[in-house]
């Protein structure tokens, strides 16, 4: 296995992990602060991707469409929070599961009604369409480097927001002990709304950026929701640091697993066994990772609840 191939897969894993982080951060905050099991988080990601595709087609300018798509999705998130989510905070988890599952159904059909059932075309900006030579002989797509860049910037931004600002302090307080924060005078309703809308915006960034890499289609939300849930469980619910580490772990394990496990198994096992076992093992690698982490640290790597 060439070191170039390994480096390439590591970068791919990093890229995927950082996008997963954007989704997981929103999800873990919503779960940690509002105690809301939001299955519709993936739907916001899907809406972000679809809006990006439409705005890109309308404006022809990737750099204009991206912030517009994020704003539009944040608006959708705001409406969703006011119309539905805030009525669910007081309900038990199962009622939340039922309601947010209903939102997934509604969102999937609305998207199909507006954009049709076929996947949408979403292309990377032409200026980033080619490869970049990172090291002599090692080429990597420029667009994926952009994703990594934006992901890291978002991670740093979130870190600064949560640790250096007053708003971030309120977020941490809410995640650590919601009742106490409310008693101490935190304006809980506004905080919840802000956290939910922030989560929606992060979903939109991930959806818009991953659009050219993955498919923009109905159901894309459900696929990535599962991964985001695994990430926040590994990282610890309510913790952004946990979401970051968890997302990188999941991104790397999943990418490396799919890339290397089948060939690794081919080397040590008879071909027909490896052909069946390889892809299956690669697919379940992240679940094994989650199980291992939970055995060692039952509340995740960096639990926020103090």
């Amino acid at each position: 296995m060439s070191s170039i191939l390994i480096a390439e897969q590591i970068l791919n894993g990093l890229q995927f992990g950082l996008m997963l982080f954007l989704l997981a951060a929103g999800l873990t905050l919503v779960f940690g602060i509002m105690d809301l099991m939001n299955l519709a988080h993936g739907s916001l990601y899907m809406i972000g991707a679809y809006l990006m595709a439409t705005l890109l087609a309308a404006t022809g300018n990737f750099w204009l469409a991206l912030p517009l798509a994020v704003l539009a999705t944040a608006l959708v998130g705001l409406v969703l929070e006011v119309a539905l989510m805030r009525h669910l905070y007081a309900r038990d988890h199962l009622a939340q599961v039922l309601a947010t599952f209903a939102v997934i159904l509604i969102a999937d059909d609305l998207v199909k009604m507006i954009w049709g059932p076929a996947p949408l075309m979403l292309n990377a900006p032409p200026s980033l369409a080619g490869p970049v030579e990172l090291l002599p002989g090692f080429y990597y797509p420029a667009y994926r480097l952009l994703i990594i860049g934006v992901g890291l910037a978002a991670a740093i931004g979130l870190y600064l927001l949560v640790t250096r600002t007053r708003a971030g302090m309120l977020v941490r307080a809410g995640a650590s002990n919601r009742e106490m924060a409310a008693i101490m005078g935190v304006r809980v309703q506004r905080l919840f709304m802000a956290v939910f809308v922030l989560g929606a915006a992060l979903c939109a960034v991930a959806g818009a950026l991953l659009g050219p890499v993955l498919a923009v289609e109905v159901g894309m939300g459900e696929n990535i929701l599962i991964l985001a849930l695994v990430v926040i469980v590994i990282g610890g619910i309510g913790s952004i640091r946990g979401a970051f580490v968890g997302a990188l772990l999941v991104g790397l394990v999943d990418t490396a697993g799919r890339a290397f496990l089948p060939s690794l198994l081919n080397a040590v096992m008879p071909l027909n066994v490896a052909a069946n076992l390889g892809p299956a093992l690669a697919a379940i690698a992240i679940y094994l990772l989650m199980a291992i982490v939970l055995i060692a640290k039952p509340t995740g790597l960096f639990p926020a609840r103090g």
Partner: protein, 315 residues
């Protein structure tokens, strides 16, 4: 609070049973034989939902991996049939046993966790079973496995005859509901509910809470496996789709919709959801939207589910 009068509420399941028994005749009279198949499908999922209700509703365990046991039952009977074992008397018990064994293994590990971690661990195990099924290229892999017909029962019972198979499914469903009701009313059932309400107190009194939950989990897994066995026969086909996490989620939705912890919550939920799917898809291509809106109405109008709506508050 409004609800049905208690006597009517108690009679309701028997009324439904009477309707179910008479259904094939009614369907034939109305020349709508297609609905026998629909009713059969509803009964199969009602069985799966009822089994989940045992651990979710009465045990308080939110399992997002119940489709795994359904799938093991389905694949069990499917693989045996393809390998030549077509007798229902051999294949069906074996498949159900396999589902129970999976439930024992998965439950033994998962029941050591709590809350959202239990949900995720059960999900993880179910996903593993799903991907193994996808990887089983000899048994169809992702495309699924076509079965060479139905299981053979003998005794003059021919499962390829639609109505006969319907009565077999109905009989098994009724027997399972009878078993579940007896279980819930027994000392075991009461202890299970007790553990759901206050685990530490039950432990302090001296109940082996882990073992209680595990037994319930295995029984639920076995019944889900039975539902899977019937499903594989119903379609003469089995594919990894039945193992996908969205199937587990659908089962959870059925139980919540029907009413968690109500005896017939599984039945009401499965019947309502599947009937709504049938009816709505006749009127519009976008029936997911309509279903989603209806579910939202249920969340706010019937917070304890459909069974809760029918029951007076003093339950």
């Amino acid at each position: 609070m409004s609800g049905l009068p208690p006597r009517l509420l108690r009679a309701l399941p028997w009324l439904l049973l009477a309707v179910a028994v008479a259904l094939p005749w009614i369907a034939q009279a109305l020349d709508q034989v297609f609905y026998i198949g629909v009713a059969r499908r509803i009964l199969i999922f009602a069985l799966a939902a009822a089994s989940l209700n045992l651990i979710l509703g009465f045990g308080g365990l939110v399992s997002l991996g119940h489709a795994a046991f359904f799938g093991v039952g389905a694949y069990g009977v499917g693989i045996l049939m393809v390998e030549g074992v077509r007798s229902a008397w051999i294949a069906w018990p074996l498949a159900v046993l396999a589902a129970a064994a999976f439930a024992l293994a998965i439950g033994a590990v998962s029941l050591r966790t709590r809350g959202v971690y239990f949900i995720m661990i059960t999900l993880a195990f179910a996903q593993m079973v799903y991907y193994v099924a996808v990887g089983l290229k000899t048994y169809g892999g992702e495309d699924g496995l076509n079965l060479p017909g139905k299981s053979q029962v003998g005794l003059g019972i021919d499962l390829s005859h639609d109505i006969t198979f319907y009565y077999v499914v109905l009989a098994l469903f009724a027997a399972s509901m009878f078993l579940l009701n007896r279980l819930i009313d027994s000392r075991f059932g009461r202890a299970l509910i007790g553990v759901r309400e206050n685990e530490s107190r039950m432990e302090a009194i001296g109940f082996a809470t882990y073992r209680l939950r595990l037994i319930a989990f295995v029984i639920a897994g076995a019944l889900a496996g039975l539902a899977g066995v019937l499903f594989a026969n119903h379609n003469s086909f089995v594919s990894p789709v039945v193992l996908h996490w969205t199937q587990s989620a659908t089962l959870v939705i059925m139980v919540i919709l029907g009413g968690i912890g109500y005896r017939y919550g599984g039945l009401y939920g499965a019947a309502t959801l599947l009937l709504l799917e049938e009816v709505l898809s006749m009127y519009t291509e976008y029936w997911h939207l309509a279903l989603g809106v209806l579910l939202l109405v249920v969340v706010f109008a019937a917070p304890r589910g459909l069974a809760g709506l029918l029951t007076r508050k003093s339950h």
